[in-house]
């Protein structure tokens, strides 16, 4: 059969090379989903690679962390050995511990006398238990007393250029053993020094404050964790396992399920696109198939030439898809990583997934070519020679309608099953729902349309009526196109909804960052009005608030922070422990309506209050200034009255002390969202005095600009004497958890673009299939402009039908899918509208553009 194979090769190859436009379009139809899949897989894999790293950023290589109660301080904080002794009875033998404590406000002096007062931690970074906490840029952390590790930003500030140099803290000298950066390169000023030794202990006593002691912990094998955890709880400690880095793993899950959804969608898209494309290809080869039969070519040759052609375009298409996907991933990953505020490291090509995708595409294409060519080969050669596919009998149409009805029923049943069920099955069912739904819709529409093929009564302009008639003239072709484009619309809808919902969930779940146009300045001293004016003019800021300070009350020689009473406080039990899982605040946060964990009350004058919270009326300002009312900065979860409470810990338990209850002003033009760094509620100096509240901490300023403020510019614009010890934050810090939220616009834009490309490919394919008809129309006197309008209206109509059906089914599928995921559903109406409009415009433009310019009577079809 060698001769037959050669023939098949020639015919298959020539089919590709002789109609280049169509080959290009079919290749595109194959390449696009492969490229998108490859890109998504590579980006997901790359982001995934960073997950363990990000986890290490919090937990090192430890099993988890032990913490004492929030805010509790210990007299023994500088003596880790003694603290560890107290812990021992609650722990199994052979437990490995590494001490860690926050050090607040330590003044570090460089060799040239430059100094900086910063926060850091006392922790031994040389301990293998916490390997990976920071990225070491230079040197190696040492466990020896008298050594210190600095972040690059801090080293810069105090004039340290390399390891081996010394800094002094109080009267002690510390050798810099390593320069490090946090995983997210946020240029924070921080230090770490190994605790326990005499030098370290002396240094810690000169700090303004110390946090509560905590330990990195690694359990001996076979430790009975539930028992251990219980023991620890009753001793006043909480254990947070690294697996409960809820934020991180949830991000991973969200990314995985989004990728899974996108993957399944792309698979369905590939199947339908390629099927539709090959329906066109096989139809164009009908006459050749008939001719080959007349010349005596066995059916095998005919079938195998189409298969060869399919394999050829499939291989080219999927290779191109992989190449494009990889390039896109390589270009996009760093950009996305930056947006996500994470260091994703080198791009993981996810080659296995790419190759699997390509293999699936090739297999699907082979199948897509085999099925219609088999069907065609079952017809008589004379029927094939007539080139026009047979018109289906009413009986077949009735069968089709029945099949469509069954599919609708299956889709509804699938939807029902999904709503009841949850889990992995959900994803599969979700895809079935929309695939079945789209198919059913298209079939119903087409059988309806064929039964009402008389278009004369339609009150439409001639061009549109002709377009409808042309669509109905080839119902099968119209159905395949509607199905394929409908699936494209459904996939893009699903992607949009899923990403928006996950983003929404993340926004709900986690603390919002500073607004893009704001910076927070924690100044070492109050700034005068003139200095604030200078700051405003040199940074181009529109507004710099008057400084506010955090509110506290003095009790037993301690300062207790003051918070607004919200339902979050209900989460704290009478022993001061958080009620949910292992003293973890996240579940409490989620359970609370207000979503304000450990919020603060701030003290500011009315100018500051207006900059932070929004404009007040004269009457409101007067009430605020006289101390009769408080202002809500963070409106979420707060009503018209607020109780200010101080959280304190007594030997017998945890207490909330009510300090004042004030009416709450919600200024006009207040923000909708909360910002972690800002106080939730503000009181004026007068209000504070009346309630016995004192200001504590450094004065903090909010700077509002028109664009994104630059940290360095603001620092430079501060008075010289305040520069060294002030901090400027332009974002809230390493908010890895918001990755999907931040990526959502990018995902949406990519989805719209992909949809446009696919629509362009399909419409061109469809229009090129009708080339002959358009040339004939030209020959009988239709102007080029009229033909273009006809083609545009036809493709526009197709797209509108497909998009409406596809979007609806996409919404149904997403609801099904997301119900299983236990995620709220956000429908990004704007993006959906953009998709539909963009698709319709693309279709109309492409439809018009591909119409042959010249009129010609048909010759050699």
């Amino acid at each position: 059969m060698n001769r037959n194979r050669r023939l098949a090769w020639i015919l298959g190859w020539r089919l590709a090379s002789r109609s280049r436009l169509r080959t290009l379009l079919v290749c595109l139809a194959i390449a696009l989903p492969v490229a998108a899949g490859t890109g998504v897989a590579a980006v997901t894999a790359t982001a995934r690679v960073s997950m363990p790293e990000a986890e290490a950023g919090v937990f090192g290589s430890a099993d988890g962390r032990l913490t004492t109660l929030p805010g509790e301080r210990s007299a023994d904080a500088t003596a880790p050995a003694r603290l560890a002794e107290q812990l021992k009875p609650s722990l199994p033998g052979d437990t490995r511990l590494a001490y860690d404590i926050d050090v607040l406000g330590l003044t570090i002096r460089g060799p040239e006398g430059r100094q900086s007062t910063v926060d850091g931690r006392a922790v031994d970074l040389a301990d293998p238990l916490i390997d990976g906490l920071y990225r070491v840029d230079q040197g190696a952390p040492s466990a020896q007393d008298g050594t210190i590790v600095l972040s690059a930003a801090l080293a810069d500030a105090v004039g340290i250029t390399k390891t081996g140099q010394s800094v002094s803290i109080g009267s002690g000298q510390f050798t810099v053993s390593a320069l490090v950066a946090d995983r997210f390169d946020l240029k924070h000023r921080l230090f770490a020094l190994p605790p326990g030794g005499p030098k370290a202990t002396a240094a810690l006593t000169s700090a303004k404050g110390l946090g509560s002691p905590r330990w990195f912990v690694t359990w001996p094998p076979h430790a009975d964790l539930p028992t251990v955890s219980g023991k620890l709880k009753s001793a006043g400690y909480a254990y947070v396992p690294s697996s409960q880095a809820a934020a991180l793993s949830e991000q991973g899950d969200a990314m995985d399920s989004t990728a899974l959804l996108v993957g399944l969608g792309l698979l369905a898209e590939t199947v339908l696109l390629v099927t539709a494309a090959f329906a066109v290809v096989v139809r164009s080869q009908r006459r050749h198939m008939g001719l080959l039969a007349a010349l005596g070519a066995p059916a095998k040759v005919t079938a195998s030439f189409l298969r060869t052609h399919a394999l050829f375009v499939a291989v080219i298409g999927s290779l191109a898809g992989i190449a494009v996907g990889q390039v896109v991933a390589r270009v996009a990953a760093p950009v996305l990583a930056e947006r996500a505020g994470a260091d994703w490291g080198p791009v993981d090509g996810a080659w296995t997934t790419s190759l699997v995708l390509a293999a699936i595409a090739v297999a699907v294409t082979a199948l897509a070519s085999v099925l219609p060519s088999r069907a065609a080969l079952r017809e008589d050669p004379t029927a094939l020679l007539k080139a026009v596919p047979p018109v289906h009998s009413t009986r077949r149409l009735r069968l089709r309608t029945a099949a469509a009805g069954t599919l609708v029923a299956a889709a509804v049943a699938g939807l029902g099953a999904v709503v009841i069920n949850a889990g992995a099955l959900t994803a599969v069912l979700g895809v079935i729902v929309f695939a079945a739904g789209i198919t059913a819709t298209a079939l119903v529409l087409s059988s309806f349309a064929t039964n009402k093929a008389n278009t004369a009564y339609l009150p439409l302009p001639t061009v549109l009526r002709s377009a409808v008639r042309s669509l109905l003239a080839f119902p099968v072709r119209a159905i395949t196109t509607v199905i394929a484009l409908g699936v494209v619309a459904a996939v893009s809808t699903t992607v949009l909804i899923a990403s928006a919902s996950v983003a929404h969930k993340q926004r709900e779940d986690y603390l919002p960052e500073l607004p893009d146009t704001s910076a927070l300045i924690v100044s070492s001293r109050p700034l005068t009005t003139t200095e604030r004016g200078a700051l405003r003019s040199s940074t181009g800021a529109s507004e710099v608030s008057t400084g506010y300070q955090r509110a506290a009350i003095a009790r037993d020689g301690k300062q207790l922070p003051v918070s607004p009473r919200t339902d979050f406080l209900d989460c704290i039990d009478d022993r001061g422990l958080l009620k949910y899982g292992n003293n973890d605040w996240q579940p409490c946060y989620l359970a609370s309506e207000s979503h304000i964990p450990f919020p603060t009350v701030g003290i500011a004058d009315s100018g500051g209050a207006e900059a932070l919270a929004g404009t007040m009326t004269d009457e409101q300002r007067q009430r605020y200034e006289s101390g009769q009312a408080a202002v809500a900065v963070t409106p979420v979860g707060l009503t018209n009255e607020v109780s200010l409470v101080a959280m304190g810990r007594k030997p017998d338990g945890f207490v909330l002390e009510n300090t004042a209850t004030l009416p709450l002003i919600h200024p006009s033009s207040a923000r909708e969202t909360e910002y972690q760094q800002l106080p939730a509620v503000l009181v004026s100096q007068a209000g504070a005095r009346e309630s016995g509240i004192i200001p504590v901490g450094s004065p903090t300023y909010l700077l509002n600009a028109d664009g994104k403020p630059v940290q360095q510019d603001i620092l430079r614009a501060l008075p010289v004497d305040a520069q060294a010890d002030s901090t400027v934050a332009v974002e809230s810090g390493p908010s890895v958890v918001g990755a999907v939220a931040r990526l959502q616009p990018a995902v949406a834009a990519i989805s719209v673009l992909t949809t446009m490309l696919i629509v362009a490919a399909m419409v061109s394919l469809w229009t090129s299939d009708l080339r002959g008809e358009y040339q004939m129309l030209g020959a009988v006197g239709a102007t080029a402009w009229w033909r273009r309008r006809l083609a545009s209206s036809m493709s526009g109509l197709l797209i509108v039908i497909s998009c409406v059906a596809g979007t609806l089914w996409g919404i149904a599928a997403s609801i099904a899918f997301l119900t299983g995921m236990d995620t709220g559903i956000a429908v990004p109406v704007g993006w959906l509208a953009i998709t539909v409009v963009a698709a319709a415009i693309t279709a109309a433009v492409m439809g018009g553009a591909v119409v042959p310019r010249h009129a010609r009577a048909q010759r050699q079809a």
Binding site: A297, P381, T382
Partner: protein, 240 residues
């Protein structure tokens, strides 16, 4: 594996027809759409004879040709082609039989437009099992005979209608299959080109081939050795 089909005429000697149709019926559709295209056709076609098949439009000429070459199945009756009974064959066997015994020339769209002129002519030769070099040699000779040797590397849509038709005839000549069925081969051509085609088909017939031409063209009828006239699916002149 291809089983060779004997190309020698049937067992009954040189006078035996290459193609014999006996009581052939062809019915299209059922119920309301039922149409009898051939109604008991009995006719013989002999070697070295050019037969013109004439009749009004819709009388059943194309149907007869298609059934004779096994492109369509007859509803009833017997068709014997060079000793083989087509009406007993399945589609695959019919295809094999065509590959060794039948050449077609249609009114239009005769050529595979993704193949060059030379490849188009080589195609049936290779399908009937000839080596490539030999096939090319024979194809070149046939193209020379039909007067299109300059165009061997062109694709069909780069040729005029008349040239395309001559290539189709070159393809029929090259393989020397004993039966040539031509359905209005001059229908799309001007009279000069039409005459050229008739001349070529006469040459082919002279080589010992049975040639059947369905036509409305009086010049073809004039050049024919024998005329078969059909009317409403029945042979009214020249039947057996």
């Amino acid at each position: 594996m291809r089983t060779a089909v004997s190309t020698t005429p049937g067992a009954g000697g040189p006078d035996e027809p290459v193609l014999r149709l006996e009581g052939v019926h062809k019915v299209y559709g059922t119920g309301e759409t039922r149409h009898v295209a051939l109604d008991g056709v009995t006719v013989d076609f002999h070697a070295a004879r050019l037969t013109a098949l004439v009749g009004h439009s819709g009388s059943g000429k194309s149907t007869l040709l298609n059934i004779s070459g096994g492109l369509e199945q007859a509803t009833s009756g017997t068709i014997t082609l060079a000793g083989h009974v087509l009406t007993k064959m399945g589609p695959a066997e019919l295809t094999r039989t065509r590959a060794s015994l039948v050449s077609y020339v249609f009114q239009e769209y005769n050529l595979i437009r993704t193949m060059t002129v030379l490849e188009n002519v080589c195609l049936p030769l290779e399908l009937s099992g000839m080596a490539r070099a030999e096939a090319r040699r024979r194809a070149a000779t046939a193209l020379e005979r039909t007067g299109v040797p300059r165009h061997t590397r062109k694709f069909p849509d780069q040729l005029s209608g008349g040239e395309q038709q001559r290539v189709a005839i070159a393809r029929a000549i090259a393989d020397q299959r004993p039966l040539v069925l031509a359905d209005e081969p001059t229908g799309a051509l001007d009279s000069a080109n039409g005459e050229r085609v008739i001349e070529l088909l006469r040459e082919v017939t002279a080589g010992g081939v049975a040639c059947v031409i369905a036509t409305h063209n009086p010049e073809v009828t004039a050049a024919a050795d024998h005329i078969v006239r059909i009317q409403d699916g029945r042979v009214v002149e020249g039947g057996a």
